[in-house]
Amino acid sequence: MNGEHLESTVEHKPTYGIYILVWLVLMMLTGVTVAVAGINFGNITVATALTIAIIKSYLVLTFFMHLKTETATFKIFVGVALLFLLISIALLFSDYSFL
């Protein structure tokens, strides 16, 4: 147990740089999403906004929340949780979008 613990923290030396870089990208993406919303793409607008939001949360999950350096268990767990949400949305919309 402890071996696993040491592995996941000591291996990666803490540095500030990467986080500031990620933050800059997040800022940029925020700018992009606001700018894009100004232009009327019609139906694609929502899709674009959501895609950018997904990219942003991916960055937060991977870097800020250290998912990158965690063991496989953590990644599987996140996968299971997201899968549950996706299934719920998909099945719920089997009722609504085909009405």
Partner: protein, 207 residues
């Protein structure tokens, strides 16, 4: 007959991975909690597409964007505070934690004024102005208040959590070898951020 202290063993064996695993599992419940509301949002957005467009025009995009920037920055500062404590820089860590709290406070002030203006314009659940509008708009603002309100509640809880962590850091209970609690608080804070990352486009950018 001797007295046995409960869980002597529990304290000897610290399991940081276990703690983080537990925190992640807790975050899933938060995620699904908001997920339920996103389901509601999705269904009504599908049902009342046009009215959601019209209603969203009432919201101020720049206020939302400003809050996004504030929260993203606070996410950065909290993660930097963890790096700082790992590098055994207690002062810098506390500084970053306080910055996070200040930013969160800024977010809440911003939110307060935003809500205030809406309420002044007579847009709140049950108001005459709102009831005069279409069903879709009533639901849009209902969702707006409930979702951003619940999110703001999470921000407040997060601030309290970080405040406790800052206290621990100052006292040295959180230090360069034992910082899992700060990590857990950080994880919580990032989740609050992620939820906002979705709330922002769904409410402010669909005009």
């Amino acid at each position: 007959m001797s007295t046995i202290a409960e869980h002597t063993v529990g304290h000897v064996h610290r399991d940081d991975i276990g703690s983080r695993l537990g925190m992640w599992l807790f975050l899933f419940t938060e995620l699904v909690l908001f997920g339920g509301m996103f389901l509601v949002y999705a269904v009504y957005r599908f049902t009342y597409q046009h009215e959601f467009h019209v209603a969203a025009k009432e919201l101020n995009t720049s206020v939302g964007a400003l809050n996004t920037i504030i929260l993203l920055t606070s996410s950065l500062t909290i993660v930097l505070s963890i790096i700082a404590i790992r590098k055994n820089n207690k002062f810098l860590s506390v500084f970053f934690q306080i910055s996070t709290m200040v930013l969160a406070f800024g977010f809440l002030v911003n939110k307060y004024f935003e809500w205030n203006i809406k309420i002044h314009h007579g847009i709140f659940p049950g108001s005459e102005t709102l009831l005069g509008k279409g069903n879709g708009e009533i639901i849009f603002f209902g969702l707006y208040y409930v979702m951003t309100g619940l999110h703001a509640l999470h921000v407040i809880i997060g601030v309290l959590l970080i405040e406790v962590m800052a206290g621990y850091t100052i006292k040295g209970r959180i230090n360069s070898t034992n910082y899992v609690r700060l990590e857990a608080a950080g994880l919580y804070w990032h989740l609050v951020d992620i939820i906002w990352i979705f709330l922002f486009p769904l409410f402010y950018l669909i005009t």
